[in-house]
Subunit: 255 residues, 2 copies
C-alpha cells in the first residue's frame, strides 16, 4: 500500500437498494466498508443510501465523488432488471456501457464449469462503463468494477468482503487512524467535562463517547482517535487519570 502521511484521504459510499430503505434487509456493508477503509488509511466521510432509481444513484455518485478521493458503491450489479448501478455510474461519468471482454470470459468459465449457459440475463453482469477494470470476485464469478477511483461492488456482504479483500493494499492512503478505547461504569453525563477537556488538551485527538446499559448498569466506552500514536497515548493516559481521579476505575480496551 502506498502511504502519504501528509494528507487525509477520504471515501464516500453509496449503498444502493430498495431492500435497505424498506427495512427488509439490514445493511452490513456500511460497517464492513468503513472498517476496511480504516486499515487502508482512508476515512469514510459520508454514506448515502438510495433506492434503485437512476437519477437518485446518479446524484449521490456525483455528489460524493466530487467531495472525496474514492467512491465505493454496493448493490445493484446483479443480473435482474432492478440492477442499474452500472448504467447509473456510466451516466454520472458521461460514459457508455459495454460488455467487458474479460468479465464475459470469467462468466463463461464460471457457468460452463457448472454445466450452465451464459444467458442474456447473466451476460448483464459483464456490462461495465467503457474503460473500466474488473475487481475479482472469488465467491460467485461476477466481478466488481473499477473506473479510476470509483469501485462498484456487490450488495451481498460476503461477496463484497471478497472484493474488498482483492483491493486490500492497492489504494493510496494516508496514515491510518489509530484508536484507544477506555471503558468506565459511569454515565457519560458524569464525565462530559473531563472528555471535553481531554480533547481540547490534545491536538489531533478526537474523543467519541458511546454509552450503553448492560447488566443493569450504565457505562460508556470513550474512543480516542488520532493518526499520531504519541498524541493518542498521551491523551489516553491523561483521560484515564482524570476519570480515575473522579472515582471512575477505567478499563483499558473498553468494556
Amino acid at each position: 500500500m502506498s502511504t502519504n502521511p501528509e494528507r487525509i484521504y477520504t471515501a464516500g459510499l453509496v449503498v444502493i437498494g430498495d431492500e435497505i430503505l424498506s427495512g427488509r434487509t439490514h445493511d452490513k456493508n456500511i460497517a464492513q466498508v468503513a472498517s476496511w477503509l480504516q486499515v487502508q488509511g482512508i476515512r469514510l466521510a459520508e454514506v448515502r443510501v438510495v433506492p434503485d432509481v437512476m437519477e437518485k444513484i446518479v446524484a449521490a455518485v456525483n455528489a460524493l465523488r466530487a467531495e472525496n478521493d474514492y467512491l465505493f458503491t454496493t448493490g445493484g450489479i446483479g443480473p435482474t432488471h432492478d440492477d442499474i448501478t452500472v448504467d447509473a455510474v456510466a451516466e454520472a461519468l458521461g460514459l457508455g456501457v459495454e460488455v467487458h471482454p474479460d468479465a464475459r470470459a470469467i462468466l463463461e468459465r464460471y457457468y460452463t464449469s457448472r454445466g450452465l449457459e451464459l444467458t442474456e440475463a447473466r451476460l448483464r453482469m459483464a456490462r461495465a462503463p467503457a474503460g473500466a477494470e474488473l475487481i475479482p470476485n472469488r465467491m460467485s464469478g461476477a466481478p466488481g468494477i473499477r473506473i479510476g477511483n470509483i469501485f462498484l461492488m456487490a450488495g451481498v456482504p460476503h461477496i463484497t468482503a471478497g472484493m474488498l479483500d482483492a483491493l486490500t493494499g492497492t489504494l493510496e492512503g494516508g496514515m491510518p487512524l489509530k484508536s484507544e478505547t477506555i471503558g468506565c461504569w459511569t454515565a457519560e453525563s458524569e464525565v462530559a467535562d473531563i472528555l471535553r477537556k481531554a480533547e481540547q488538551d490534545h491536538e489531533g485527538c478526537q474523543i467519541g463517547s458511546y454509552p450503553f446499559f448492560r447488566e443493569g448498569k450504565v457505562g460508556a466506552n470513550f474512543v480516542i482517535r488520532s493518526t499520531d500514536a504519541e498524541a493518542l497515548a498521551d491523551c489516553a493516559r491523561d483521560l484515564t487519570r482524570a476519570l480515575e481521579d473522579r472515582g471512575n476505575p477505567c478499563i483499558a480496551g473498553g468494556i
Copy 2:
C-alpha cells in the same frame, strides 16, 4: 393515524456519528426507522450517514428536508461535547437554541429520583431549537425533539425504538406499501426475464430480487411491493405461475 391515499409520503433519515463511519458501531437505526415508516404509510427515500461535524449535518438536514415530507435524525443528542445535533438542526432551520422547560423538568425528575444531580452536562440534554416539542423517552429520561416535520432521536437503538413507539400513529401517511414474498431455489439470473415481465405487466408493482446462498444451494426471494392489494395479489399469482412453468417450485412467504 391520518391517511391520505391520494399521495405518497416520503421521509429522509440522517444518521449522525463518527462511530458509524469508523465501522466501530454497526448501525441498527436505518432498518428500524425504515420498517417503522412502512407501517406509517411513509417511504424512506434516502439515508445519509454523516460525521459529528456541524456543516456536514447542516448540509444533510437541509438537503433531505427539502426533498421529503418528514426528516428524522438519529444520534448526537446526548450530554457530551460531540453531541451537536440540536445545534446543527437549529442552524439548518435558522433558529436559536434554548433549554426546553419541560425537558428540564423531565431530567430533574429523572435524576432526582435516582439521587443524582442535574449537572450542566446533563442539562445539555434539555437543549432544543426554539419552539420545539418533545418526543417522550421511556427508557432513559432525555427526550427526543420534534420541530414541525423534523424528528431528532437518540442514537442508541433501543432508546430510538421507544421514541418511534411514542410517535406511532401520529404522522399523516399515505397508503402503506404492502408486500408479498415468493422464494425459489433458483439462481436469479435463470429467471431475470420472468421478473422483468411480471413487473411490466402489473402497474404499480415493483419487484426486488434478493439472492442468497444457503445449505450449499443458491436461491432468491422475490419481493413484490405495491400500495394496491389487488394489483399485488395479481402480480404474485402471475409471477408464481411463470416461475413454476419453468420448473421452479415457489414458496409463498419466501425462504
